[in-house]
C-alpha cells in the first residue's frame, strides 16, 4: 500500500480536534457546527431530548461562519473556534478583527436564540477559541501567549477565558490536540465553568 505524507492545513487541524471530540464522548463535548467546504453541515445543530442533532440555525450562503462550535452540557459551556493552519495567520490584524467579529456574532445568535432545542443552553458560558498547527511542540505556550495578546487588542472579551487548541505532531507523525487554557496546556479538553 502507498504511504502518503501530508501537510497540515486548517481542514486537517480542525478535523484532528473533531476526531478527538468524537472519540472522547465521556467528556461530554459534541460538535454543534463545523465548517467544511461543502455539504449538509452548514447549519448549527443542537441535541434534542433524544440526543439527536436538530437544526437550530442556518447560515446565509455568504454569511460569516466560525470554523467549529463545541458544546458541553455537563459543564454548560460553548466554545466558538476560529481556525487557521498557523498562528501567524490568526494574529494578522485584519484576520483577528474578523475572527473576533465572527465569535461575537455567533455568541449573539446563540444567546438570543429562541429555538426550543437551544433554549436550555441560552445561559451557557461562551468561550472564544483559536485553533492552529505548530511545528514545534516546545513553542505551544509561547504561541498561545502571542495569540492571546493579539486577541486582547481586538476584543473586549476577557483574554483569560480564551482557549487555544494547538495541534502538534509527534515523532511518529501522529497529530495531537493541546488545549491551552489560562496558561496551562492539557491533552484533554477538561474545563469547568
Amino acid at each position: 500500500m502507498i504511504k502518503y505524507t501530508f501537510n497540515v492545513n486548517e481542514e486537517i487541524a480542525r478535523w484532528v480536534t473533531e476526531v478527538y471530540i468524537k472519540n472522547q464522548q465521556k467528556l461530554g463535548w459534541w460538535v454543534a457546527f463545523t465548517n467544511p467546504i461543502a455539504g449538509p453541515w452548514k447549519k448549527i445543530t443542537a441535541l434534542n431530548g433524544e440526543g439527536v442533532p436538530v437544526e437550530i440555525y442556518r447560515f446565509e450562503r455568504e454569511g460569516e461562519r466560525p470554523d467549529l462550535i463545541l458544546v458541553n452540557d455537563m459543564y454548560k459551556l460553548v466554545i466558538i473556534v476560529e481556525a487557521k493552519d498557523y498562528y501567524q495567520k490568526l494574529i494578522a490584524p485584519d484576520q483577528m478583527k474578523k475572527s473576533v467579529r465572527v465569535i461575537e456574532g455567533i455568541s449573539s445568535i446563540l444567546v438570543n436564540s429562541s429555538n426550543e432545542h437551544w433554549a436550555v443552553r441560552v445561559g451557557y458560558k461562551i468561550l472564544p477559541a483559536f485553533l492552529w498547527f505548530t511545528e514545534d511542540t516546545n513553542s505551544i505556550l509561547n504561541e498561545d501567549k502571542i495569540v492571546k495578546e493579539a486577541f486582547e487588542k481586538c476584543s473586549k472579551l476577557d483574554p483569560n477565558e480564551l482557549i487555544n487548541i494547538i495541534i502538534s505532531k509527534d515523532a511518529s507523525g501522529n497529530l495531537h490536540n493541546n488545549f491551552v487554557y489560562r496558561g496551562k496546556s492539557n491533552k484533554d479538553l477538561l474545563l469547568e465553568n
Binding site: 463545523t34 467544511p36 461543502a38 449538509p40 452548514k42 450562503r61 497529530l175
Partner: protein, 488 residues
C-alpha cells in the same frame, strides 16, 4: 480472509466520513480507527470471506504523492468525493454534492466538473437540492441543464453520469427529504460490490434505471420553466428509455443507441409549428455588429434561441475602463495584421444605476441552421474575414460570452456554460457532431489563448475550448481555428 482496499479522497474529511457512514447501511461496519490520530479507516465485513477497508483522505492537495488519475481529474474542479482503487490506480467514480440549489450561472458551474469527469470516462454522481432558498428568500428549483448534460454524456461516453435530487418545495435544501441520498449510496455500494466481485453490472442496472427515470421525470416537469421546447419528447415519455440508457452505460458490448435519439435541438424546419411561428429576434442591450447579424438570421427564421432571459449585470465604469485598457494592451497586431482593437467606453450603454451594461444579446447562444449563414454574418460584421471558409456546412451553435475582464473566459461560469451547452447542442447521443461549434467573445482579445511561440497555452479553459469549439471569434473579428490554432 480477503481484504479489499479503497481510498475515499475528498475535499473535506466530512465528505469521506459521511460516505462511509452511509455505506454502513449497506455493509456491516466492523471497526473504525484513526491512523496518525486523524485519518479515518473503516473496516466493513462483506461476508465470511471478504472485508473492505476504506481509508478517508480529506483535503486533496495536502497529500503526497497525489495519485496521478486524481490529479488529472482535479484539474477540472474538485469533486467532493473520489472513490479510488490504489492497487490499480483507478478511479471507480466521483461524487459532487451541494448543500444549496445553484441558481443562475451557478447551476452551470458544476457542468465543468461533470464534463471533466466524463471526458475521462469516470462515472459521476451529482447530488443536489431540487428546491433551495435563494439569496432573496424565495424558493428556487434546480435548472434542467446539468441533468440534460448528464443524460447526454452518459449516452455519448457510455458511462453513468447521474444527477440526483433531495428536498422538496416544503423542505428546501433538506438532505433527509427525497430519495437522492439513499439512491446515491445504493449506487455507490453496488459499484463497490462490483469492484469486490460480489455484485455484477446486472445489479447496478435497476438502480441506474431508477436514477435515469428520475432525471427524465425532472426534465419533463421542469423543462417548460427553462426552455421554449424540448425535442424528441416521445423518447422522454417512452417508459423503456431509462432502462435503455442504464443498459447502454453498463454494457461493454457496442449497443446501437438509435432508439435513444433525443435531446437533438434541430434546425428551424424541425421545430414544432407554434415554436417556429414565434421565432423572433430578442434584441440587444449593448450593440454589436456580429450579433446584430445573428439577430437578422433569427428574423429570417433561419436561427432560433431557447430563452431570452440572460440578465444584464451592469459593471462599474471604473472597472470597465481598467479591463478595456488591459485588453487593449494584450491586443497584438503582429499576429493579426489587419485587425484592430475597436472597443471604447462609449460603446457600453449606461444602466439606470449609472453603471455600464456589458451584455449584448439577451440569450447565451444561437442555434443557426447553417454555418454558411454564420460565415456570411461574420464577413458582414468583420470584412477582414472575407477569405474565411468554414469547411463543414453543418447547422451551427454560436455561444456568446460578454465577459471583459482578462482571463475570465477561462474560468467560472463561462467554462461551465460552454461545457453544458456545447455538449448538449453540438453532438447527438451517439457522440456524432451535429453542429459547428463557435464561440464569440466580443470583449476579449485572442492573444490570451497563446504563448510567445503562438502555441496554445495550457489551462483548463483553453483545453475545454479546444475540445468543444471549432472556432472562437474575438474582439476585432479575429477568428481562431480551435483545432489547429490558425489565426485569421
Amino acid at each position: 480472509m480477503k481484504i479489499f482496499h479503497l481510498e475515499f479522497w475528498a475535499d473535506s474529511f466530512h465528505e469521506g466520513n459521511w460516505a462511509c457512514e452511509e455505506l454502513s447501511k449497506f455493509f456491516t461496519l466492523k471497526k473504525l480507527h484513526y491512523e496518525q490520530g486523524f485519518i479515518p479507516v473503516f473496516l466493513f465485513e462483506i461476508d465470511k470471506e471478504k472485508e473492505l477497508e476504506i481509508t478517508v483522505l480529506g483535503s486533496y492537495k495536502n497529500w503526497s504523492p497525489l495519485p496521478q488519475p486524481i490529479a488529472e481529474l482535479l484539474e477540472w474542479g474538485k469533486p467532493d468525493l473520489v472513490v479510488f482503487d490504489p492497487a490499480e490506480q483507478k478511479i471507480l467514480l466521483a461524487v459532487e454534492e451541494t448543500a444549496a440549489v445553484p441558481t443562475g450561472n451557478q447551476a452551470l458551474q458544476r457542468c465543468e466538473r461533470i464534463y471533466g469527469s466524463l471526458r475521462l470516462e469516470i462515472p459521476f454522481w451529482y447530488l443536489l437540492g431540487e428546491f433551495g432558498v435563494h439569496i432573496d428568500g424565495g424558493v428556487r428549483r434546480d435548472s434542467i441543464w446539468p441533468t440534460v448534460l448528464g443524460i447526454k454524456l452518459s449516452c455519448i461516453k457510455k458511462t453513468p453520469c447521474i444527477v440526483l435530487h433531495y428536498s422538496d418545495q416544503s423542505h428546501p435544501e433538506d438532505y433527509s427529504v427525497g430519495e437522492g441520498v439513499h439512491s446515491l449510496y445504493a449506487a455507490l455500494a453496488t459499484k463497490i460490490g462490483i469492484f469486490m466481485g460480489t455484485k455484477t453490472t446486472t445489479d447496478l442496472q435497476p438502480i441506474l434505471e431508477e436514477q435515469y427515470g428520475h432525471m427524465i421525470d425532472f426534465i419533463k416537469s421542469q423543462g417548460a420553466n427553462v426552455v421554449n421546447f424540448i425535442p424528441n419528447q416521445e423518447v422522454l415519455y417512452n417508459i423503456n428509455t431509462p432502462k435503455e440508457i442504464s443498459k447502454l452505460v453498463t454494457s461493454s458490448d457496442p449497443i446501437s443507441n438509435k432508439s435513444l435519439d433525443f435531446f437533438n435541438w434541430g434546425t428551424t424546419v424541425d421545430l414544432p409549428p407554434d415554436i417556429y411561428k414565434n421565432i423572433t429576434p430578442g434584441g440587444l442591450i449593448k450593440q454589436d455588429l456580429f450579433i446584430n447579424e445573428l439577430e437578422k438570421i433569427v428574423a429570417g427564421k433561419h436561427a432560433y434561441t431557447l430563452s431570452g432571459n440572460a440578465g444584464s449585470r451592469p459593471q462599474h465604469k471604473e472597472s470597465v475602463e481598467i479591463w478595456l485598457s488591459e485588453q487593449k494592451a494584450l491586443f497584438s497586431t503582429n499576429i493579426s495584421p489587419d485587425a484592430y482593437f475597436s472597443l471604447k467606453i462609449a460603446d457600453f450603454p449606461k444602466s439606470i444605476s449609472g453603471r455600464l451594461h456589458v451584455t449584448t444579446a439577451k440569450n447565451v447562444f444561437y442555434l443557426v441552421d447553417s454555418s454558411a449563414e454564420v460565415e456570411k454574418s461574420l464577413k458582414r460584421a468583420f470584412p477582414r474575414l472575407k477569405k474565411l471558409t468554414m469547411k463543414e456546412n453543418l447547422p451551427s451553435f454560436v455561444y456568446i460570452s460578454n465577459s471583459i475582464k482578462p482571463g475570465r473566459i477561462f474560468g467560472d461560469p463561462y467554462t461551465g456554460q460552454l461545457s453544458a451547452f456545447a455538449n448538449i447542442f453540438t453532438k447527438n447521443v451517439a457522440g456524432k457532431k451535429t453542429r459547428t461549434s463557435i464561440a464569440y467573445y466580443p470583449h476579449q482579445v485572442h492573444t490570451q489563448l497563446f504563448d510567445n511561440k503562438l502555441n496554445f497555452r495550457k489551462n483548463k479553459g483553453i483545453i475545454l475550448m479546444r475540445e468543444l469549439l471549432d472556432f472562437a471569434v474575438f474582439q476585432g473579428g479575429v477568428l481562431v481555428d480551435m483545432k489547429n490554432g490558425k489565426i485569421i
